[in-house]
């Protein structure tokens, strides 16, 4: 592949050739770590800190994040690594040559939601930073400033992503420094307030300590399951599985819980998960400025990775195959800008519910992909069939849709909400021992396996062979 063609390859949804997949383990780890570390870490930590103390919360959250990361890697990883495709394209064997729009929609909703939140955070942090630096007066911040900053952030993301994956990597190489700033902030709080941290009691803990502990684990699993939409677009840039596993598990799985400890510690000791607030208490205004700079940079880096992944996902739609990269970026950024400008406060207040809703969809999706690839297909995928949409092609099923995947997805979602209501956190007894994401994953996998075994294979569709 010559250099002329190498640039647009990473802006298409077509398979990347080995020669185009130039990201080594370090580059991938840096990009994933930058993408993973963002303001949501504080919010995740804050959520866990409502139920658990620092040590238990940290252990449960880390355990959950690593489990979730493994599920995501096992689900999307094989197809993305083998063929250099993105997460959405990796679902075509399971959902069908048209049915993949279901996970694509899940991806779009997830990424638009997350990135809207991050852009709002970005704008708010930048405003606070301007106030802290004396550029603005605290009581007289113009109302239009946050919307204007939101639009500016979208414009910056657009400019950075004009270079495709190179833009993502370049920005990540610069912004990865914020991960270390975050660790420094955590060190400050832990080293100065350790006795208080150990003694701190969670404010919203249930009377059932096992429920609290399981909820800490569940929040970790659900959080990293939400990386499913992002991961394919990143790992497709690495040449082989060896270059992917450690960067994903360590570069993406570890920074999220580590930086979430900042929010966990903050909410337990200082009753605030926002480091820009408590760093002022701990170290004065200079530290607050550092924290605000950190938050601003962190959200920007993550948003760039998210918009890139989402834009690649859109490329799978036939109607968008021939759109220019700039037009696709605009289509992806438009809803983010709309949310950030028109309904930022409404969206901001619903974050907890949104986080929980994410786990509902992605857990079953992972179960379906894992059982399909490792059990039913015995690791055999037809890369050509991923791009065939005519009747009779291997992944056409019926009218391009595999009903087994839809039923399994629905079953997994029902299983999840039966165990844990993601909005009210009301749960049934089994949840306290099982979590909700893990049974939902298993349920979807079992339903998918059963229907495929009993119906799909016998009908001779789906490319499962004899």
């Amino acid at each position: 592949m010559d250099k002329t063609n190498a640039a647009p390859a990473d802006e298409s949804a077509w398979p990347l050739l080995p020669s185009e997949r130039t990201w080594g383990p370090l580059r991938l780890a840096v990009t994933l770590a930058t993408a993973a570390a963002a303001t949501w870490c504080y919010l995740i930590g804050e959520s866990v800190g409502g139920y658990l103390g620092f040590v238990q919360g940290a252990l449960a959250l880390t355990a959950g994040c690593m489990i979730g990361m493994l599920l995501v890697l096992l689900a999307a990883g094989p197809a993305c690594i083998r063929f250099g495709i993105d997460s959405v394209a990796s679902t075509k064997p399971q959902f069908g040559s048209s049915g993949w729009v279901v996970p694509a929609s899940l991806q779009a909703v997830s990424i638009i939601g997350w990135n809207s939140l991050l852009i709002i955070f970005f704008a708010k942090s930048a405003t606070q930073l301007a106030v802290a630096l004396g550029l603005l007066q605290a009581g007289s911040v113009p109302v239009v400033l946050v919307p204007l900053l939101t639009l500016s952030a979208c414009a910056l993301i657009y400019l950075a992503l004009r270079r495709g994956s190179t833009g993502v990597s370049t920005v990540s190489n610069i912004l990865v420094a914020h991960v270390f700033v975050g660790l420094w902030m955590l060190y400050l709080l832990v080293s100065r307030r350790w006795p208080e941290l150990l003694a701190a009691q969670p404010a919203a803990a249930s009377t059932d300590p096992i429920w609290n502990y399981t909820t800490g684990l569940e929040l970790g699993i659900a959080t990293t399951l939400s990386w499913w939409p992002y991961i394919g677009a990143m790992i497709r840039m690495a040449p082989d599985a060896r270059s992917v596993v450690l960067p994903v598990m360590l570069g993406m799985g570890i920074p999220v819980p580590l930086l979430s400890f900042i929010g966990l510690a903050g909410v337990l000791v200082l009753k605030s998960s926002d480091p820009s607030e408590w760093l002022r208490t701990v170290g004065g205004p200079t530290y607050a400025i550092v924290a605000l700079g950190f938050v601003t940079a962190a959200n920007f880096g993550t948003a760039i990775a998210g918009i890139y992944a989402s834009t690649i996902g859109l490329r799978n739609f036939t109607a968008l195959e021939n759109k220019s990269w700039g037009a696709l970026l605009t289509i992806t950024l438009a809803p983010v800008a709309f949310v950030g400008v028109c309904i930022p406060e409404l969206f901001f207040s619903k974050f907890g519910s949104f986080l929980a809703l994410i786990g509902v969809g992605f857990a079953p999706l992972c179960g379906i992909q894992i059982v399909d690839y490792f059990v039913l297909r015995k690791r055999q995928l037809d890369v050509r069939a991923l791009y065939l949409t005519h009747s009779g092609s291997p992944y056409y099923y019926w009218h391009g849709v595999n009903p087994a995947a839809l039923i399994a997805l629905l079953s997994g979602c029902i299983c999840y909400v039966s165990l844990l209501n993601p909005l009210s956190y009301a749960s049934i007894g089994a949840y306290r021992f099982l979590t909700a994401s893990l049974p939902a994953t298993l349920m979807a996998a079992m339903v998918y396996w059963a229907i495929t075994h009993l119906v799909i294979r016998r009908a001779g569709v789906g490319g499962y062979g004899p």
């Binding site: 002329t4 647009p8 390859a9 298409s12 077509w14 398979p15 050739l17 080995p18 658990l52 103390g53 040590v55 238990q56 252990l59 449960a60 880390t62 355990a63 959950g64 690593m66 489990i67 990361m69 493994l70 890697l73 096992l74 990883g77 094989p78 690594i81 083998r82 063929f83 250099g84 009691q201 803990a205 300590p209 096992i210 609290n212 502990y213 684990l217 040449p239 082989d240 599985a241 060896r242 992917v244 596993v245 450690l246 598990m249 360590l250 799985g253 036939t318 195959e321 021939n322 690791r379 890369v383 050509r384 791009y387 065939l388 949409t389 005519h390 009779g392 092609s393 009218h399 391009g400």
Partner: protein, 72 residues
């Protein structure tokens, strides 16, 4: 500049199998992938996934349990 990733002709639901023709650039990519073989999780990858995705979480979970989920 000509974009080699633009789709010139893609099959759709009404296309008969014998009429299927992928875009030439896509066809070239698929042919190269099919010819060269693809990378899978190897033993080393599985060991790390097992350690970091199963053993470590179980260890951390057990440690947290020992710390006192039934006591707090």
């Amino acid at each position: 500049m000509l974009n080699p990733f633009r789709v010139n002709r893609m099959p759709n639901a009404s296309t008969r199998p014998d009429q299927v023709l992928l875009d030439s650039e896509l066809e070239r990519r698929i042919a190269e992938l099919e010819a060269s073989g693809t990378s899978e999780f190897d033993g080393w990858s599985w060991i790390w996934m097992l350690l970091l995705g199963v053993v470590l979480p179980i260890g951390l979970y057990a440690l947290g349990w020992y710390w006192g989920p039934t006591k707090s």
